[in-house]
Symmetry: none
Subunit: 415 residues, 2 copies
């Protein structure tokens, strides 16, 4: 069942209860062949295991059987939005992630600074992992670009990533990416192509912007900022042209009043703003996220708390690092428990097994603790055990209903 | 979730991986009261059990809770087609099963040779299990029938069964069966009735055909071929008037290029052709099916491998025979494993318990083995154990997504 589809049939009440929605990105794993244990099963996690013993558990399917999700759509699913109905483009996530607001006809697109060889092939999609400060200097230079009838808003995201909004009448987002998502001698950026007739004008605007941006990035001044290796020149790649997201806000859907988000990566802050959350933290440190939670807890009905580091370790194929991130989270989670929220949800948006080095479709361990949970027999929070929990294998889109129900926020349905 | 509904949202890639989709028809059973064990639980199946230990397991619901499916629809469901959206008539399955192709306005119908008493009651729906060679001789005689403006195509299926296609303008398939699906003194064939006004013309064509066929079958020559017992005369029963199937092909739905089918019964070859498979085997022997698989494996991305014998034993109420068929399959399945497909699915289309002597709604043991499976704790492939697997109780329409995902053929969904 899909929370956003069931919610309009329900009456919600604000009983003052507090929900902490704790998302460990990429938490699910696969066993190492030599031990037969996943990252979570290898990690020493006494606090998570105690929570599993107190609460009710299951395994959640992120999107659909066999389907590995991107981060954006996986979070929307977890927040109850049907992933096959609601679509939020990467450009929009990036724009909201840095605190921009989109207007009706805006197009937002992610822009990466990248290194090219003299033939124009993409040789480094991250421009030597450009530092955020340098990115800010380059964005300042790009703000010189003027296009007739179109306002251009440029903002640094992080490292080599930035975001551009095109604002003006008659713009539409059906445009292809120029980012080939690969590098090498024969790999060139693609041209911007209008994917629907209505987007021809938008394509011409995007092409003009890219050309002018690349002219600026080949000046001595820009080269001095980027400091690419000899022979490389700097240019941009664009990805995920998107229009303004138009999702029902969580306040409206679920009758929640004050919803906050604590996340250390811009994209998750973007998703949070798009569904109506206040973004409460703008740093990058795991322990600071917990400090912030303690500080703001009493002001919010619902806090989305996002930890990125488990996913990053999985993507890097670093099993031991993922284990140590999970152990660190386990230590810190005691602080969350001590806040005594009426409901604590602990789960992930998808699996990122270190052996796979990427997102997968594998179900994710899920745990909910609250006064009204009927505890099951599961005593460990991991892939092998949670599947025996009362909730069994279920869809992530159901999680919000469990959270709200256990918080006593859903009125009895009908007479 | 229904694979054919989710698939249009997804991007598939051909990564060269190979999927063997192993279907043991009617595999699920019910326990014998004296032992408390089903056929699968009674059989000695070390190879299937080893596969269950390596892979991930569950129980699949063929169509809907409590609903026993026919063979055609059960296979469509397993291949991901919504059984309540897609309908393929029995006549069409029979036509494609013998390699005929239907055109836009064609009607196909299954025709059984049957024995009648002198009063015209149906006394033997199978004409003494007529031999296929005799069926072929009778079909040759029926080809003499000419109807104005309608082309008639007649083909032997197997034993007492054949198929007829009516080809011409203005034909529609909404016609009732003449086969009463029962025998006895008071059981007469029903008349062909037009079920919609548009099918009145088709009804007149079918009636004319049946009358002329019965005239031919009552000649001395036909009687000599059929050799029915004294006093019985030969006639036909018609069943499953159907128009041309119009399903999206599996190539189109799932991005698979080369899809093959190995099946020993014509109806399963019919289903296979209707969804876009190459039919690779036309014999009837279990061990030959495995020979064929070894021969063609490297040419196909996806092979649907169908074994009929477990279902037949179940239908006959022969518990011991079903046990021995399952043991024989278990021996042979080692040959499948040795081909090292990236993904091996082992399941059935429905249950056919020997105690029930027919298809039932009971969930079917399901097993998938592949490099990226997260193994569960199940170590035996049977009804009691597979229900403890990670996949739990799920719908057969999800199987294709699991197969394609585990084969790495589904791209990450969105950003």
């Amino acid at each position: 069942m899909i929370s956003s589809e069931i919610a309009p049939h329900l009456q919600f009440k604000n009983n003052g209860s507090k929900i902490i929605f704790f998302v460990i990105d990429g938490i699910g794993g696969l066993p190492l062949p030599k031990t037969g244990l996943t990252e979570l099963e290898t990690a020493n996690t006494p606090n998570l295991d105690r929570l599993a013993t107190k609460g009710v558990t299951g395994m959640s399917i992120p999107i659909a059987p066999g389907v590995a999700p991107g981060s954006g759509v996986a979070h929307l699913s977890l927040l109850g939005y049907d992933p096959f109905t609601y679509d939020v483009g990467r450009g929009a996530i990036a724009a909201y992630g840095v605190g921009l607001e989109m207007e009706e006809d805006d197009i937002a697109v992610r822009v990466n600074f990248a290194g090219f060889n003299s033939a124009g092939a993409v040789v480094d999609r991250r421009a030597g992992r450009l530092a955020t400060e340098k990115n800010m200097e380059l964005c300042k230079m790009l703000r010189e670009i003027k296009i007739h009838d179109v306002e251009i808003i440029i903002e640094t995201v992080m490292d080599y990533r930035s975001v551009v909004i095109f604002r003006g009448e008659g713009l539409h987002p059906d445009l292809s990416d120029t980012d080939p998502q690969a590098t090498g001698e024969g790999v060139f950026p693609a041209p911007v192509v209008a994917l629907k007739p209505r987007s021809k004008y938008s394509a011409s605007i995007a092409k003009t912007f890219i050309k002018e941006a690349n002219d600026i990035l080949q000046t001595k001044e820009a080269k001095a900022i980027a400091e690419l290796p000899n022979g490389q020149h700097l240019s941009i790649l664009t990805r995920g042209y998107a229009d303004r997201p138009n999702l029902p806000l969580m306040q409206h859907l679920y009758g929640l009043e004050n919803i906050g988000a604590i996340a250390s990566y811009p994209d998750y802050r973007g998703i949070a703003r798009i569904v109506g959350m206040d973004v409460l933290y703008d740093g990058h440190e795991l322990d600071e996220e917990f400090d912030k939670l303690e500080e703001v807890f009493h002001n919010y009905d619902f806090i989305f708390f996002h930890i990125k580091e488990a996913d990053s370790a999985g993507e890097d194929g670093n099993f031991d690092k993922k284990v140590s991130v999970l152990e660190e989270i386990d230590k810190q989670i005691k602080r969350v428990e001590e806040l005594s929220p009426e409901v604590l949800v602990v789960t992930g948006d998808h699996s990122t097994p270190s052996t796979y080095k990427g997102h997968t479709w594998h179900p994710v361990p899920f745990l909910i603790v609250g006064k009204w949970c009927r505890p099951d027999t599961v005593k460990k929070y991991n892939e092998s055990e949670c599947k025996h929990g009362t909730l069994g294998l279920f869809h992530a889109t159901e999680v919000m209903l469990y959270a709200l129900g256990n918080a006593g926020r859903i009125d009895k349905f009908r007479a």
